[in-house]
Subunit: 352 residues, 4 copies
């Protein structure tokens, strides 16, 4: 009997682009879950993979089904799996930690020394089906809309960053308004931030920042954002910096607008080394700088689910095109043109 096949968006060769292929549906081991993908969302990383940039070339080993943001329905469970059943609505933590290294043993699996990422190191979710270790599957309340459930991976980055310290009654700067930056604005407001100041060079994204709840969306190209932020905070500077751009200039500005004793949480990934005014901006101000990576397993998922379920997050402004997976080329072109935020792909025929 031939094994059943499925559609999958593949990086087949080490060059630009991707191919929609028919490949066997993944077989699962005793501790795995097979999920039928309902909707998948395209990450900036996926665009890098599509474009085959330097990072992709150094990390990926084609052929590979990529994609790591999604939601779906459990199709089949392995023999040893407890707690899931076919039909469950789920998403998944796509960072698979080893469980053995020191960070894992300390409960810090999000910085596992041997992490493997589904959709980067092994086949991902741009397909009709994806195989996930049961430990990484996350059951979702059916009241959470499909398009929100499809972006829990980046939303988790935002929640991890925002809630890495106190936010209620505090002033917050968000430097960089890509999707995770925009989500952070919504999360910060839901968590009681008194003022949210966004900085972003792209006018379209500044507009979105305002829609997501920012009190101000400042343009670093048009004025002194540090002075503006200080002005908006009575001269003190912001209590919290959420750095979402990875751009050296934004990192400088963010740290400069932080008050003494403030918190800086850095999620944006710089492309190279960054030069800091380490005394003026960190040491002399007694600032705490946190590196943020991934999502806490699974504290972040618990918090995020609770925020979504209670209806405290309005993410609607983030969503744009919804396309059948066959139209993937159109999706990547939209993203390359900077004309879209979250584009959803539907590999199983229905688009909603």
């Amino acid at each position: 009997m031939p094994s059943p096949t499925m559609k999958a968006l593949r990086k087949a060769r080490p060059d630009r682009g991707a191919q929609l292929e028919s490949i066997p549906v993944p077989s699962i081991g005793p501790n795995d879950v097979l999920v039928r993908v309902r909707a998948a969302s395209i990450c900036g990383t996926d665009l890098h993979i599509y474009e085959w940039d330097a990072w992709s070339q150094s990390r990926l080993r084609p052929p590979l089904t990529f994609g790591h943001e999604f939601c779906g329905v459990v199709e089949k469970i392995g023999d040893e799996v407890a707690g899931f059943a076919p039909g469950d609505f789920v998403s998944a933590e796509m960072h698979v930690n080893c469980g053995h290294c020191l960070p894992c043993r300390l409960g810090e699996g999000h910085v596992c020394e041997n992490v493997r990422i589904i959709g980067i190191d092994v086949d991902g979710c741009f397909a009709e089906f994806v195989r996930i270790p049961a430990r990484n599957v996350w059951k979702i309340d059916p009241s959470i809309p499909v398009h929100y459930a499809a972006v829990m991976d980046p939303l988790g980055n935002a929640v991890h960053t925002v809630l890495a310290g106190p936010v209620a009654g505090r002033t917050v700067a968000v430097t960089g308004c890509g999707p995770i930056g925009l989500m952070s604005i919504a999360v910060a407001r839901a968590a009681g931030a008194s003022t949210v100041i966004a900085t972003e060079v792209n006018a379209y994204r500044r507009e979105l920042a305002t829609k997501m709840g920012a009190d101000a969306a400042l343009d670093p190209a048009a004025g002194d954002v540090v002075a503006q932020a200080k002005d908006m905070t009575g001269g003190d500077g912001v209590d919290v910096l959420l750095e979402m751009s990875g751009h050296p200039e934004a990192i400088h500005q963010g740290l400069a607008m932080l008050r003494p004793g403030g918190r800086a949480s850095l999620l944006g990934i710089p492309r190279g080394p960054v030069t800091l005014n380490l005394f003026d901006d960190v040491i002399g101000k007694g600032v705490v700088v946190q590196g943020i990576f991934g999502r806490r397993m699974f504290g972040t998922w618990v918090e995020m689910t609770a925020l979504l379920k209670s209806g405290r997050l309005n993410l609607e402004p983030l969503f744009h095109e919804r396309l059948p997976i066959e139209n993937f080329q159109q999706a990547f072109e939209l993203l390359e043109a900077g004309r879209a935020n979250k584009v959803l792909l539907f590999p199983n025929g229905f688009v909603d």
Copy 2:
């Protein structure tokens, strides 16, 4: 030249009641500020003083002007005072800490070993003027409404309790819906609590709890509130308990509805010793129980001001009668009858 006089509501004698008297306007020292009281609010403690209960008899030394919740306008400042000027709109931290004891030296002045409370140990704010050490005066943004500014003392208790640990994306129980409990509901929601469950025996207060934003207001007399709270949290129990009643039964219920690893913040003052299931409810569940007293100086004030200024707290359901200070008897009777929450007294003629 005779010293100027003012109206003051006094506990003149060690028995029930109070007297409106004419006494000299307080003189101030080099580090003091004289404030013209705009509005004063009556605390449950003031009712105890009015009724001259056991605690009042043991603590107060009449004659005394009582009252410790208020806002007003700076009338005069001492020679050494910097940072304030006549005309400033202010409230004040009425716990005056010594600055010398170990807790004070450790930055925990809210549990100072030598605290003196204005309105209890020295003359308070139920008067046209009140004298406050400059260090304890808190400048208020003029955008904050007078009736909100008058209740920053109890609101600070609520903010201190709610923000003593993480709240965003967490389920919260509030046991006891007096004014501070009700305020805590609003603060917890503003800080991103996903579900707020209130318990309260008084039907009127349960109704207020819902108006303040509670998802459920449960009646312990009518059913098993522990089972109800567990049911509302998927069987796990709540993440956070805010104990606002001081009643042993509510403390039991609150701790029983807390999940393993949860946080219990206790502000309500029990009248006597309390018997706990210390293993089942605290030790075996790995729970953290925090005693909460007063307001952090002045972290709580900073947070509270930011929340108020950004319009994140709707406290309107709390307010009831607004009376000239001459009608104090009516005010205390309303409170004794349980027919009012926050009653405001206006000692300077205008009522708004």
Copy 3:
């Protein structure tokens, strides 16, 4: 072929005592490790089981091999086990958490809602061999002596309790000097406590407390230990309480000797409800009370291993008799008579 057998100390029937029996060596599953027991240590809980007290009657289902403190050598590993090999020197976390409940998902597996304890709920380590899920096995540096490795379970309780908050440069009270209390004294000193004050009614244990490094070992039967502790701390009270007795009187005294803003970590298990002066001792002092249960998985193990490996803990005064498992009756009698602290049993013939 008959399956191999082994000696095991069994609770064969629901009454007092225990029996040394010959039973099959446990078979292991794909994720298990079989450990040859080198030395096992007797816990107070084991004495309760031996005596068949009310708690034992309610929890245990004989027949059962009991015992949950031990070290040994890996004999065999399951097919899926990575990271261990026969010959490894190991101990184990005997609380097996479910991995699925909310506390487990939040990284707080030590308060798992479905915990099963090896030696209480399933067969334990008073035997030649014990089966342990690989995830719970802990590799030990060969430089750590056998008798120390055998008590990592209770030592982990002590480390969990002491390091649940800052200790360096702080004054510490330890109420109750059973084995875990005594270990806590050594851990607190290793962690930089400036003064360690122990309280204990038993003179022999007070002597041991001094040997373990306590600056004072006070007798609650002989004087006012609260006044003595305050006197030793300049009138302020201690910064940290480590409650190790579970006795209501000791809990009272411990909380009363704690300074405002102090930390109380409760590990001792009271036999029934405990009445507290909740306002005077907790709320009004702004104290934090932590319930402590088990050991953090596996942060506590990491810390404990580092402390042992670096030679910072001298536990010698704790150890007493070392007996072949055949002499178990003598061991339990020694413990019942209060004439021993940690008694080690050797099930595999050699005693050292």
Copy 4:
């Protein structure tokens, strides 16, 4: 009547060197304390002032009595001062915070926005007498030796840095072994660090590092200290970095040897901007970087006093020459030659 005079070591003119002059004994205000200096210690900053480097030129306004590390005896107190009396043995926090700015209000006076430093902005302790605001004076237990009491300022830097997070049972790297780095080694060991790895290019200081308790003192010029530190920590990297040098190379090495999820506390002051591998060393590893400045007021002083009083810190290897203040030139030359660590000056005639 002429005012009494005293000897004072002055920066009289804006150029290299210093002058011993006779100037009036400072008069004190109502909230000040006049202290007769028993011993003063020379900081690296004092050497910069002596040498009149770029920083000194930008900050100091001669004429000025410099010096900010000392102990002494209370000579006279202002009219409003409580808690001190002539004869008290004291040291002092020389950072005078304003009490009004946001950090001060939040209890973070060590990062006050308007700090004035005694010995830099106003007359300091290289004199027979020094004037200190009462709030900044710190009473010392007479059991603490004079030479230890004289270095509480830098020791406080070390204690602030080491105790800014957990240390017990953790591996610690100290990059840079000047006096504060050396003190940090002693503090880390007293606080239970399992392994302390020091890095330092100067052979004499490496020898001192070992005397202070470092398990290893590595020479960055002689080998790959990152690889060596990883090797000493089983390949994981250290749990805690205490950066004491301010040198970009040491900062790189320190961050590179830190494990994922580790803590980096930076006290050393870089001379200019520093380029970091922000993703590899901070973001991707989920590391927390703390800027450390000054000493917590007065939590650090409480901890430091407790550690000193309990005899847990052996600082003897740090001390070198003890000279009458008249020999100041010899003292600065010793320091310039790198041949001394802490040199003590005695302005009041007796040297011990």
